[in-house]
Amino acid sequence: MMAADLVQAWTDEQLKTEEVPKKELIKFIQDNGAHSFLAEHKLLGNIKNVAKTAKKEQLIEAYNQLFESKRFKGTEVEVVTEEVQAVKIHDNPKEIKTELVDEGPPKFTKSILKKGDKTNFPKKGDTVSCWYSGTLEDGTVFDTNIPASAKKKKQSKPLSFKVGLGRVIRGWDEGVLTMSKGETARLEIESDWAYGRKGVPDSKIPPNAKLIFEVELVAID
């Protein structure tokens, strides 16, 4: 059993010196201490954050306490808090705004074909109107709302949608937010921010397709 096998890795002397940095000590305690022990000693969570708030002396004390009380992982019945709520059924349909987590560098590139007014930029939730055409890397046009003749363009309407709310592919949401009114841009969107591994079945968009759009932002409301 782990409790019987666990031996103190450091002596008191070693602990007090720089030999054992705070973060390493925290990691050891987090790896081996029972959940409730960690909670009591305020040692739960991101190591960096714990290191900021806890002093070295506190950590040494906790370390020693751990071996005294033997409250290691798996030795006690974890007190489980019923954090998971009961199932609620709401009557009113709500809109889900998918919170976009910062996952790293943007997965699209933009080149400006025609400058906009550089003053009016859309915010999340604004309604934008765009003319656009979309092609695959091999040049296949899979979608456009620009009619063939100028005359017909008068009869058609640009695509209107609320930007930044996850209603369109991410490349569009992020890309259009960087455009100003009147701007025409070329957006090259990697598949992760387009239709990903699935593509759109039964359509011209295959799996893992990089999509290239020419977008003209005509209006922001």
Binding site: H35, V77, I89, F142, D143, N145, L159, G166, K204
Partner: protein, 592 residues
Amino acid sequence: MALEQLSDVVQRCQAIKDESYSSQDYDLFLAAGRTCIEQGDSAQVLSILVDEKNKSIVRCMGWNLLGPLVQMLLKKEDKNLPHCHAILSHLLEVCSPKELLVGLLEQVEEADSASIAETLTLLLKPLQTVLLRLGMKKASSVGMALSTLLSQVARLPVPVTKEQEEDDVFGLCCCCTALLQFVKPFVEEIKEIVKDNNRISKDNELRVELLKFCMKSLSEPLLEVQLKDPDTLQKSPLRDFATEILMILSNIGESLPDLLSRNVLKRREVPGFLEEEVRYPKESLACMCHLLFVNHIAVDIFPAVLSSVFVLQCNMEYIELLLSRTEGSRLQKGLELYEKSLVRVEDNSLPVDLLELKTFFSVPQNLVKVLTLCPDQTLRTKGLKVFQLSIDKFSTEAKYKFFRGMLKTSHHAGVEGYIIKNIKNQIDFSLKPCNGNEWFLGKHLLPLLRLVLCLPHGPETDLLQNLDRIMESLNLLRYMLIRDKEWENETGIWTELYKIEDHYLKPMRTGLNMSKAHYEAELKSMKANKKITSKDSQASVCTLTVDNEKLPDMTPEMQIQVLQSALFTFDLIESVLARIEEIIEAKERPLS
């Protein structure tokens, strides 16, 4: 004789000024005119009607002849046809459009089911002519006409196979095609307004009537129709009809993506709010989405930039509607739409907050009803496939919440068993390296397991009725005890074990022993009774009547069979239970 009467009344009326004809004049004209036409004297009637001197009379009274005229035309007797057609053309030119409209629509409404297609084919062009004569005031009349026409078309049987669509015996395809031609000039008129003004008022009357027409068509007949894809049926009038309806919607200024997301986006209380609801019936929109996403109709006028999760979210509203019905055709379409929407989304990607939306819980509930109650096996099979697909798309946290919800609300052993099997798969997945998560391991797993490893009525739980659920949960427990080593205890099962023994295994053992003893005793007494063919074995405890027919009593042999199969089932439960008890016995008890 009738011809003379007609000539008489017409001559008399020529003298009357200001068109102040008496009702008697009208009656005489109608009676005589009708008889002449029915008798086949259409040529003479024609000459009377086209006579300049009779212009006023014809303008006032002529439209009343529509009835008998149309009946003659439908009879298709060659020698009369050209004259009857000529009469009709003349009347259409001369009589008041409003009155003609009433007369023609009356004929449409009165058509019996056998002659709907013919009547429509005959009258659509005349109707169109009359409506165009109404000029700027035509909107409400167009609406009335379209509504009457569609009501008749809705009565026609819908072809099911591709051969039936090709043969079009009842004329639905023919009528749909003709309707498109009928509606064309009105759509063009709206397009012109859009072109000239760059927009059109949402309340433009003619536009609203065309919108109503499209919405009604989507409901009847299109929701009933099973479209064939181009590989199966190259030329399909019904597919063309569907395509054109969506094109018309787009041409009159309706944005298809906006229609898709109508029921999902927050609606503010606007004046005329209720009218908005009426203008866009949910059932029609459901049909539209099915056409777009399953049949790929008009997909080139639908933007390909919407996010797949958003599309799913929108479609859930319509899937919920379709799956709440009982007709097989609606359920089939609901399942297809659900499947096509799910397939676009990556596995493990749907976030947990989606479960806060009403539809993400009500749709699975509806689906469970299909799985457990629908008499059609193909639907149940497809339903199960789609059910598993929907589970696969949820993120880990969402799966957790979903399973918990289903266990609490489904009250059906088969469904619970299926969910428990999914839970086992998730635990198995989580135990693999790099798959660890806090939902199927760690602190959240135990509350979920408590919902799984429980007997709703303690030792008195009916083991047979709950068999599916019990077998899956015992299998789950056995799996966990073998897979999760005691010294690793990644799932926490070992620390929880003593509770499980008290609340689950012990009552199960008790219940099992009791049930076995009871059934064994029953079996013994049945077998004993069988040897003595006494009246006691004949007296049944209850009778069962289905559909006014009393079912035959179970024979003693059948009763014995049932008891024996129950005992086999208990053996089955016993085998897993024993194995679990063995595993527990074999390990050291954990420190508590």
